[in-house]
């Protein structure tokens, strides 16, 4: 058990998304740290509770609106400068956003409250971007950028996507079978092209997940931007695909002009077609939107249409099969209904933006958090030192046993926090210090009982056994009552207070285990070594 506890506390490699100083983009990095989560009050950061703003129009179904809002905030998650943003719906109609380490509340709030923007754009059907790749590669090579050489050899690409079937443009196949592949000379060892693999849809490229930051920084270069063909823009997708054990992020080359935007969309619903058993999303446009869409789709039959929310392509672009008027249907084939519901949510998020109002905000500067940790730990150490002093002077050798058990107790408690993934908050630190004081209670009860038994003239061995036996009911009763109130506190409390309740509960459990089992084992070892012991240092 001790081994398990220590193992939980060994610094482990934790993958975090960190803002890359060089490019200003988010990337995954791995750092070593003790795996205990610190609350916002300790590491600094922003906690926001948001609700749909009723002052900007009636909210008929707040639960629905908040789901749309959650979807929107999630697509913007990379814009925050924090490692692990928390976005979750609390209760029915409330959105909680927690940004640890975020320093600029105003920026974070504007990102969250910005109105969602949905647009449909035709993908790069003429492969203009692909044709421009050699020029881009050359420009990069001239600028001294080396191919990162990590690109998979061409053979594996063919394995990934099947054989080359030529141009996609002529494709008249139904969408489901539109998996026309094109792996032409993409894998020429250019700095950029070595990172890109042709996807299944024209204008779709796949970038290995670990190469995403490199690709982003290359694409952000002004000399590359200049060479991207006119009328084409690059947009990252939200989906992460995994092929042959590697994961890829999608990158789309799309036209820079939307064929329609979210303001024309009225509603979207996900259903499962009973006849074909396919997941579909039905959407309805406004009358004006219907006219625009009819014209546009008429021109783009058999083209692929990217659904873009806040600059991110959502899912795989569907093919336009025929002219579409006011009512349209997106077929997702055999994909689960959940995917269709997600897509419907995206459409609705763009169509019916849910204006959010902040109902609670807490932001703590990182310096304050560090001060709190420092003060909390100082107070904790001083408090524990006092407890150790009292125990050792009063109970002498038995006190030393109790203190040794106390050290184990602290290890157990921290391991409990790490193991169950609970968060350590400032009140949690107080709870930890407090529970150390309470933890010795069990030992005190036992030692006092042993003293009493010794006083009644019992032998050392018997006194120890009796002491443990008699103290047990008092220990259990008293700890259960404290744990019960802590549990209630956990149920009704908010973040920091829950942290307090959690450390208290884990602390109580750990203290009972150490006091009852550990100290007892120490005694047994001690007494077995000195079976002739007539007096006990208690």
């Amino acid at each position: 058990m001790l081994v398990l506890a220590v193992w939980q506390l060994i610094p482990t490699n934790v993958t975090q998304r960190v803002r890359d100083a060089a490019t200003g983009r988010m990337k995954d990095t791995t750092i070593r740290r003790v795996p205990i989560n610190l609350g916002l009050d300790l590491q600094g950061g922003i906690h926001l509770a948001l609700e749909v703003d009723p002052s900007k129009g009636p909210v008929p179904d707040c639960a629905d609106a908040i789901q749309r809002a959650e979807k929107v905030v999630r697509t913007r998650i990379d814009e925050f400068g924090t490692s692990e943003p928390v976005v979750q719906i609390q209760g029915r109609c409330r959105l909680i956003v927690e940004l640890a380490g975020e320093k600029d509340p105003a920026r974070a709030k504007s990102i969250i409250q910005r109105t969602a923007f949905l647009e449909f754009r035709i993908t790069d059907m003429k492969n203009l971007f692909r044709d421009a790749l050699p020029a881009i590669d050359k420009a990069l090579q001239r600028a001294g950028v080396q191919a990162s050489g990590q690109g998979a050899p061409a053979a594996s690409v063919t394995q990934l996507f099947g054989t080359d079937t030529g141009k996609v443009k002529a494709s008249k196949k139904p969408k489901g079978k539109a998996a026309a592949k094109d792996t032409t000379d993409l894998n020429a060892p250019g700095p950029l092209s070595s990172l890109l693999f042709q996807g299944q849809v024209p204008g779709e490229y796949l970038v290995p997940e670990e190469q995403v930051p490199v690709a982003e920084s290359l694409l952000a270069r002004p000399d590359v931007q200049r060479l991207i063909p006119r009328g084409i823009e690059l947009k990252w997708g939200t989906e992460v695909l995994s092929r042959a054990g590697r994961s890829y992020r999608t990158l789309y080359a799309v036209e820079d002009r939307p064929i329609i935007t979210g303001e024309y969309l009225q509603d979207a619903k996900a259903t499962r077609e009973p006849l074909t058993n396919q997941s579909v999303v039905n959407f309805v446009l406004s009358r004006r939107g219907g006219r625009v869409f009819e014209r546009e789709t008429g021109r783009h039959v058999n083209d692929y249409m990217a659904i873009i929310l806040d600059g991110r392509v959502q899912g795989q672009p569907p093919i336009i099969k025929s002219q579409i008027g006011q009512r349209g249907q997106i077929e997702l084939g055999a994909k689960p209904l959940q995917d269709a519901q997600d897509l419907a949510l995206v459409l609705k998020a763009g169509a019916l933006p849910a204006p959010l109002t902040i109902i609670e905000e807490r932001s703590i500067g990182p310096s304050l958090g560090q001060d709190s940790i420092k003060d909390g730990i100082t107070a904790g150490i001083v408090g524990v030192a006092l407890v150790v002093l009292i125990m050792v002077t009063y109970y002498r050798w038995s006190g030393v046993l109790a203190v040794a058990a106390l050290a184990l107790y602290v290890v157990f408690t921290l391991a409990g926090l790490a193991g169950f993934g609970f968060t350590l908050t400032l009140p949690g630190l107080a709870g930890l210090a407090l529970s150390v004081g309470i933890a010795v209670d069990a030992n005190v009860l036992i030692f006092e009982r042993i003293r009493e038994e010794l006083q009644h003239g019992k032998l050392v061995r018997t006194a120890v056994d009796e002491g443990f036996k008699h103290a047990m009911s008092a220990i259990i009763d008293s700890n259960v009552s404290t744990a019960l109130t802590a549990f209630i506190l956990y149920l009704v409390g908010t973040g920091p207070v829950q942290g307090f309740a959690i450390t208290l509960i884990i602390g109580i459990a750990a203290s009972m285990i150490t006091a009852i089992f550990v100290v007892r084992t120490f005694y047994m070892i001690w007494l077995d070594r000195r079976p002739d012991m007539a007096t006990l240092s208690v």
């Binding site: 105003a106 902040i358 109902i359 905000e361 807490r362 932001s363 703590i364 500067g365 310096s367 304050l368 709190s372 003060d375 909390g376 100082t378 107070a379 904790g380 001083v382 408090g383 524990v384 006092l386 009063y394 002498r396 400032l426 009140p427 630190l429 107080a430 210090a433 004081g437 309470i438 010795v440 209670d441 005190v444 009860l445 006092e448 003293r451 009493e452 010794l454 006083q455 009644h456 008092a474 009763d477 008293s478 009552s481 404290t482 744990a483 019960l484 109130t485 802590a486 209630i488 506190l489 149920l491 009704v492 409390g493 908010t494 207070v497 307090f500 208290l504 007096t535 006990l536 208690v538």
Partner: protein
């Protein structure tokens, strides 16, 4: 070997009337004050905005006040917080305050710009912490805190009912009510800010004080079985005396940690730590002077099966019940401290 209160034999129960008087003297004025002025609730409960600022040099609350007045933010409380160059500005909702009642969020921005105007741009001051709580969240938290206190009562009652017979349970619960009342009075006297964390401290106190009462009652239960001939008065005294070393030690260690928290853990935790420290004190007091005499009184009103409570109020002086102390087994020095702790 150090032994505190070994074989102590104080007649605690005799002093019960004095104890009642003492707590009444604490509770009644405190509670009257509480009814008249209410408590100093934090913005978590009232709704409002809290901003903690740090300046390179102490600027004084007057200067900040001037800055806020100039911006039309009146009625905000300004308070030095911990270090001399740190201040907390609180603007509560629900007062006649135009700038605040609009939106808690805009208040934070208004305070920020007011400070920037008066003190100069960013390096002249630093916002360390902002809390803005809307009225809705405040109401919810009030409800939650109330529910927490109610639930913890119900749960502990049920637990006591299962573990002890109802007479013990009732006495323990009444002692806990006493603790809550004295703690409210204490909070009122010191005008501590009642935040959710302080409510947490009160709840922890409920558990902790109950814990203490339970340990004494556990001993009473055991002694009632062991000493068939003593009346309840004597058994209560005996039990309190027997558990006295434990009480002193446990409260000593816990108090050591809470006092360390009061002194060292910083301004944010101080109200919590103060309430905890007081709670330990009142919890100990009530288990000895409130819970035990109440148990005796309840036994007298509604006698239990062995009806010893009926004889309870016939004090016969205390009978030394412990066997004569055996020669000190450790052979160390034996200190009998009579100093009250």
């Amino acid at each position: 070997m150090i032994r505190l209160f070994a074989n102590a034999n104080y007649d605690f129960i005799k002093w019960r009337r004095w104890a009642y008087g003492l707590t009444a003297a604490i509770i009644i004025p405190g509670f009257a004050l509480f009814l008249v002025r209410g408590l100093n609730y934090s913005i978590e409960f009232t709704g409002g905005t809290l901003i903690q600022v740090q300046t390179p040099q102490p600027v004084g609350t007057e200067r900040l006040r001037g800055a806020l007045d100039a911006a039309g933010i009146r009625d905000a409380e300004i308070q030095q917080f911990g270090a001399p160059n740190e201040y907390v500005i609180r603007a509560r909702l629900g007062r006649a305050n135009e700038a605040v009642s609009g939106s808690t969020e805009t208040t934070a921005a208004a305070v920020d710009s007011a400070l920037a105007r008066a003190l100069g741009p960013a390096p002249a001051y630093k916002i360390l912490r902002t809390e803005a709580v809307g009225p809705k969240v405040g109401k919810e938290l009030q409800g939650k805190a109330f529910l927490a206190i109610l639930f913890s009562f119900v749960v502990t009652l049920v637990y006591l009912a299962v573990r002890f017979e109802w007479r013990f349970g009732l006495a323990a619960v009444l002692a806990t009510v006493h603790d809550i009342l004295t703690t409210i009075a204490f909070i009122r006297y010191l005008d501590l800010e009642v935040s959710l964390v302080v409510v947490g401290a009160v709840l922890t106190m409920v558990g902790y004080s109950l814990n203490d009462t339970i340990i004494i009652f556990d001993r009473v239960r055991e002694n009632l079985r062991k000493f068939r001939r003593q009346n309840l008065y004597e058994i209560l005294n005996l039990s309190i005396n027997e558990t006295l070393p434990r009480s002193v030690l446990t409260h000593g260690t816990t108090m050591a940690t809470t006092i360390a928290l009061v002194l060292l853990a910083g301004e944010v935790l101080r109200p919590f730590a103060l309430v905890m420290t007081f709670a330990i004190f009142t919890g100990t007091f009530s288990s000895i002077y409130i819970a035990a005499p109440l148990l005796m009184w309840i036994e007298k009103r509604w006698p239990g099966e062995d009806a010893r409570g009926a004889r309870a109020l016939r004090p016969t002086g205390t009978v030394p019940l412990n066997p004569p102390p055996s020669p000190s087994p450790g052979g160390g020095s034996e200190v009998r401290s009579k100093a009250a702790v």
